[in-house]
Amino acid sequence: MAEYASKDTMAAVAALAREQELRSTVRDGTKWYAWYQVIFGSAAAVMVLSIGLISRPYGVAIGCGIWFTVIIGLSIYAARQRVARLGFKRRHASLIIAWGLLYGGVLSAGLRWFPGVVAWWVPGALLVALPGLIGGYLEARR
């Protein structure tokens, strides 16, 4: 009876260890999302700087051109990945909502009151990049 109990215990401990090992493997496989977020944040900052500091229509054209190219590239990159982290949809929705709110705020205030003002657009670009940069950092630390 004791031997039977011991076998049960060993099997349980081995299964729990295997679960940890597999979780770690999956976590490694989802690290791509850290890069995704960092590139997303950086591209958002470049777009804001371009729209805010380069004269129209070139700034808008360059900024949007870079942005759409990066977004298409990131979409292809994401579609080719073999595993998505637990809570991916929620995390990604948070990234897009945070970016959208900051981008909308910086852009609308900047175009109305601070056209071409470096002191507005540089901190604004950093602010818009933050959701991606912080998200990427947190993702890499998981």
Binding site: A5, L16, L22, L86, K89
Partner: protein
């Protein structure tokens, strides 16, 4: 599938479908992800395509795994994900495993 028997050995809380080693590994892999490609699960669990297909069919029949087919470009892909029932069953199964391990540690 999980049945609880208060006051009885925690092994009775183990889920019969998940308990098999390969199925346990498949479910443990999927529990750590929103979804995973068939090939990723195969490589992670280290089984053949046919073994994985067979075990996934069992898990799908139990309502623990959802299988989605699609394309990335022209390449067909099969995605696997745990259903809410599958996730709950896995959590309960792991609790039973921990209880078994702790029962032995208490002796």
């Amino acid at each position: 599938m999980t049945t609880s028997h208060p006051g009885i050995h925690p092994r009775h809380g183990l889920d019969e479908v998940i308990h098999a080693p390969v199925r346990f590994s498949i479910v443990a892999t999927l529990a750590a992800a929103d979804k995973a490609e068939f090939g990723f699960v195969r490589d992670t669990v280290e089984v053949s395509d046919s073994v994985l297909s067979r075990q996934v069919a069992t898990l799908e029949k139990a309502g623990y795994v959802a299988v989605t087919k699609g394309y990335v470009g022209k390449r067909p892909r099969t995605w696997l994900a745990l259903t809410p029932d599958g996730r709950a069953a896995f959590v309960a199964h792991c609790q039973a495993l921990r209880a078994i391990a702790e029962t032995a540690a208490d002796r």
